[in-house]
Amino acid sequence: MPIDLSQPNWELLVPPLLLLLVGLVWIAASLSRGRFTLPGHLGYFWVFLLICVITDFFSFTPAVWLMALVSFRALREYFSLVDLRLEDRWGVLGAYLSIPFMIYLIQIDWYGFFIVSIPVYVFIVIPFLVTLADSQSQGSLLSIGAIDFGIFFFVFCLGHIAYLAFFSTWLVLLFLLGVVGCNAANAITARRGRMPGFVLSCLICLALTLGLRSWTLVPTGAAVFLGFLIPVLVQMGNHTVDALGRDLGISAADLEPGRGHVLFSLKAYLFAAPIVFHYLRWVMKFGELIHRHGT
């Protein structure tokens, strides 16, 4: 359903208005001097948005390497928090090197290798690196688990956002706005438990997916499904990272740079990014229909 630009179309105003709204809320929060705080996720919303904008107006390469920087920051904070041994240092180095490895595969659009790069190749190398340097062989299993977990979430899962930007800027925007909407809903209803927040985030996401249909080219049925899928995944991600934070001794109440700042900001994206990506690619066949280089 291509947009007919010859006729006045009020839908053209929807995305700029949404961005304006998010921006105004952000400015209000920063001017309120702590009386009204936003969830930290909004900071990375702007970074991801920047990635979209760079992709759209300049080229994909700088955008995808900006994504690598986000991955690096998240991974660095994660490794600062978990308890690693002296013997794990080569494994951790391998984990950092997996970022450029995966990002390069996204950059050259080798989808088939990208999707197995971390689950197969990196996950084979990391245990080897950890056990290679290990003279005590005590606690290697825990270390491998901790390192692999970090790579999986903060490199592989986040990397899907970059690949999504490769397919369609509008889809990324839809996804990002959906996640921000869910976070806003959760923040508004934080005192009333999880259920009202979930209902509200479903409503927001449904409104977004249906409202932006003519931009994202997602059919109505799929838009409804996405409207439910995003809130569920955001809830799952929030729940998991909150539990992890408790285990690592950090809480959302007192975050410091290097102590959960990035982790808590990214938690809503971790589960949603790969699943939404796969839904769009495999169910909706988006990768084949709308390919930036193809059109």
Binding site: R76, S80, L81, L86, L93, L142, G249, P257, G258, R259
Partner: protein, 475 residues
């Protein structure tokens, strides 16, 4: 006064290169920046874990202090690399301290800087200690503070540097650095009290930081390994069994490392058999059948190495409080090597050989050319033997031992003659002398030619005294 152009260049390097690098690669979180004085000199005292410490501190300092601060650095360490020395000298304008020679001129230099209104950054531990541990402080910082009661003394606690670039590794990793600057201390006390008070305030900063630190799991109970040495027939295994029974009645689990007998609550109980133990017994039997000392060597060496591997495994699998070993691979090996080369007998030789076998000696030791076996073991990575925590030597004359062996009625082993056992006994005496004097191990030499009761009482008292925690909580 116009600033020195060299210092301005160093400042530019700090602000444009080092600080962005620190923020981009490692990440820096500063707490208590408001505690830094806005004018005048100050003394910053920090815990020392890594080479990154100094970069982290400079990353947290305001420009005023970057221009006018001097770090106290070890001349003997940095002077080894000329380029590194020049870089450090240019960037940090250090007060060089040679740790090998004591001298008052560095203190004079620091006093001069403080009087000129410049600041001092000092690591009172004097060296990069164990990762995450705050060691003992040297008194220099206390003397400096006592000489300048008007200069504020600021405790600084650094965390993350010991993980980003630990002492034992040359591979820096991107890990966040946290620096806490404590409130200024004005301590009006003696040198020693000031130093101690400073250490306390850094420990307090550590405690407030540590609340958010995650540990994988609590430390395991540490197993205390007692090596019972003695020539054949001196009653080692009898003593081990007796001690295990006694101590296990007092509530500690004991393991006899060689026969894998576990004692808990005064009773021997079933222990999980280990494959290596079976292998060791077979090799040991080969050694016992050997016809000459030359043929005895290889199986015995193998057996001792297996015994060491077994010790690691028993520690892990059984987790008992105490392990009694019939001899200790590292000590026995040293003693036996003397037996083959009688001209080498000295306590100094023993200490060096044991250091090599424990993986701590230097690679260029002339011992390697004396003992080709040592070279082979080093190449095979077998020189990481475990030192025991305490040594008991049962001393009996060789004649008594020969009598006891004859009374056993077993087949004589090749080394079991009065002359050879006498030499072995001398060798053991040298080894225990080395462990007591050169290696600071708790070592007890007991007269073995008495009744078991009195030996066991004495040995038990010795073991109880040597175990570190036995003084605090009487279980």
């Amino acid at each position: 006064m116009a600033p020195d152009p060299r210092r301005l260049l160093a400042l530019l390097l700090h602000l444009l290169v080092l600080r962005p690098f620190l923020h981009l690669v490692f990440g820096l979180n500063v707490r208590g920046r408001e505690n830094l004085p806005t004018r005048g000199p100050c003394i910053l005292a920090a815990n020392h874990n890594s080479h990154l410490d100094i970069l982290t501190i400079y990353g947290a300092l305001p420009i005023r202090l970057v221009m006018a601060a001097h770090v106290v650095a070890a001349y003997d360490y940095f002077a080894r690399h000329r380029l590194l020395f020049a870089t450090v000298d240019f960037l940090f304008k250090p007060v060089w301290v040679d740790r090998n020679c004591r001298g008052g001129d560095t203190l004079d230099m620091m006093n001069g800087y403080l009087e000129a209104g410049e600041s001092i950054i000092i690591f009172p531990e004097g060296t990069r200690g164990e990762a995450g541990q705050i060691g003992n402080f040297h008194c220099g910082v206390g003397r400096l503070a006592a000489d300048h009661p008007e200069v504020p003394l600021l405790p600084v606690y650094l965390r993350g540097t010991e993980r980003a670039l630990p002492r034992k590794s040359s591979l820096p990793l991107p890990i966040w650095q946290h620096i806490s600057i404590g409130p200024p201390q004005r301590l009006d006390a003696g040198v020693r009290d000031t130093t101690e008070a400073l250490r306390e305030s850094i420990l307090a900063l550590e405690r407030s930081e540590i609340a958010s630190r995650h540990q994988r799991r609590p430390d395991r109970r540490r197993t205390f390994v007692v090596a019972v040495l003695g020539i054949d027939g001196s009653g080692k295994s009898t003593l081990s069994r007796r001690l295990s029974l006694d101590l296990s009645q007092a509530g500690r689990t004991c393991l006899i490392g060689d026969s894998l007998e576990l004692f808990a609550d005064g009773d021997p109980c079933a222990a999980q058999p280990l494959l290596k133990e079976k292998l060791r017994r077979w090799v040991s039997a080969q050694a016992k059948d050997a016809k000459s000392l030359a043929r005895y060597k290889i199986p015995k060496l193998t057996e001792l190495l297996l015994r060491d591997a077994l010790l690691g495994e028993t520690k892990r699998w059984y987790g008992s409080d105490l392990i009694f070993m019939d001899g200790s691979p590292i000590l026995n090996m040293t003693a036996w090597s003397i037996l083959y080369r009688p001209e080498m007998m000295s306590a100094d030789f023993c200490a060096r050989a044991m250091a090599i076998l424990a993986g701590r000696g230097s690679a260029k030791d002339p011992l390697f050319s004396e003992f080709p076996e040592l070279k082979v073991m080093k190449r095979l990575g077998l020189t990481r033997l475990a030192m025991p925590d305490a040594v008991i030597f049962l001393d009996i004359p060789a004649a008594v031992s020969m009598n006891r062996i004859r009374n056993r009625g077993e087949k004589m082993q090749v080394h079991e003659t009065e002359e050879k056992l006498g030499r072995l006994r001398e060798a053991y005496l040298l080894v225990v002398k080395a462990t007591a004097e050169k290696m600071d191990l708790p070592t007890f030499i007991l007269d073995g030619d008495r009744d078991l009761e009195s030996i066991a009482t004495e040995a038990r008292r010795a073991v109880e005294g040597a175990r570190p925690e036995s003084g605090g909580n009487g279980e």
